[in-house]
Subunit: 159 residues, 2 copies
DNA sequence: GCTTGACCTAAAGTATACTTGAGGTCCTAG
DNA sequence: CTAGGACCTCAAGTATACTTTAGGTCAAGC
């Protein structure tokens, strides 16, 4: 049996990562992967790119934006190959972020609980109605994450 | 002191809900609110619309799409005015959905835990790498929710 | 009755994250 | 050496959720 090839074509990578071929090309335009090229201009992905792409897939599935994922991956050591410890650090990063977001959702859920059967949903008292104290901050990412992930930012100018 | 007015202009509604004026108009194009009009064509919102809009704001902040929120609000009784029980039913609906989503995120977090310090992130064994068994389903909503909210759908054709 | 701020519509722009299409090139097997 | 599938680029399209712009109208106060 032959040794696994050193690098892979884009179709092979798509099959292995579950990402579509156009998506892989799109990720390259975003600077998330930088495959080599053959003399004819075709992409050749290293095996380490599979790891990178799997991280991207999982993290985006978790709700992280490509910009966020890219920023984390950019902190991988540029000179040497990434080690197990490097990948684990990245996994832990997303794990911590996920914790924050789950906590944020739980906080909002509690507020929602306070509005069930409490006779509220009246403009004056309801925690959901009067939430200017806990409003969205500006910045990248989905409104959901800006809202529940943050640590109680100040109110932004426009919404 | 005067009684509160029966209906409100769009600027007043914007100020009270924290939504921008263009957003309120946009929501109307989406059928989420149906304000009355003056003879001159200006919008007049009923006080019940404030409740409706606050629900919309909270639910979208929680990560629900406008389509989802609209579908829930459309189930309010059409003939009579909505009661406290109606609003509570809606709050409970979102509460249940939120529960599902938190559980989904926790599931993925556990998988992530399994990949920290376990020597994996190797292509063959890692639960994050080989997740075809638990892949995204088609349908509306963000990829996050399709991914973590669902109850283990089958793999869709393309991603 | 006139000013002026609040309001109106319609269309275009923004951002994220892709997909789809058109038209052409690469490269490997027969 | 040639067929054909895999690959290439670039541009445009899709979907969500809005914001911004342009050009005009309404209505309340003086």
């Amino acid at each position: 049996m032959a040794l696994p090839p050193r690098d892979l074509g884009i179709g092979e990578v798509a099959a292995r990562t579950g990402l579509s071929v156009p998506t892989l090309r799109f990720y390259e335009t975003r600077g998330l992967v930088k495959p080599l090229r053959t003399s004819g201009g075709q992409r050749r992905y290293l095996r380490a790119d599979l790891r990178r792409l799997s991280i991207i897939r999982v993290a985006t599935d978790l709700g992280f934006s490509l910009a966020e994922v890219g920023a984390v991956l950019d902190r991988l050591p540029p000179g040497r190959a990434a080690t197990q410890a490097d990948w684990n650090r990245i996994a832990r990063h997303f794990r911590r972020e996920l914790d924050r977001r789950i906590r944020g959702m739980e906080r909002l859920r509690e507020r929602l609980d306070g509005c069930i059967g409490c006779g509220c949903l009246s403009m004056k008292r309801c925690a959901l109605f009067n939430r200017d104290d806990e409003a969205a901050a500006e910045g990248p990412g989905s409104r959901l994450w800006r809202e529940i992930g943050g640590d109680d930012h100040a109110e932004g100018p426009a919404r």
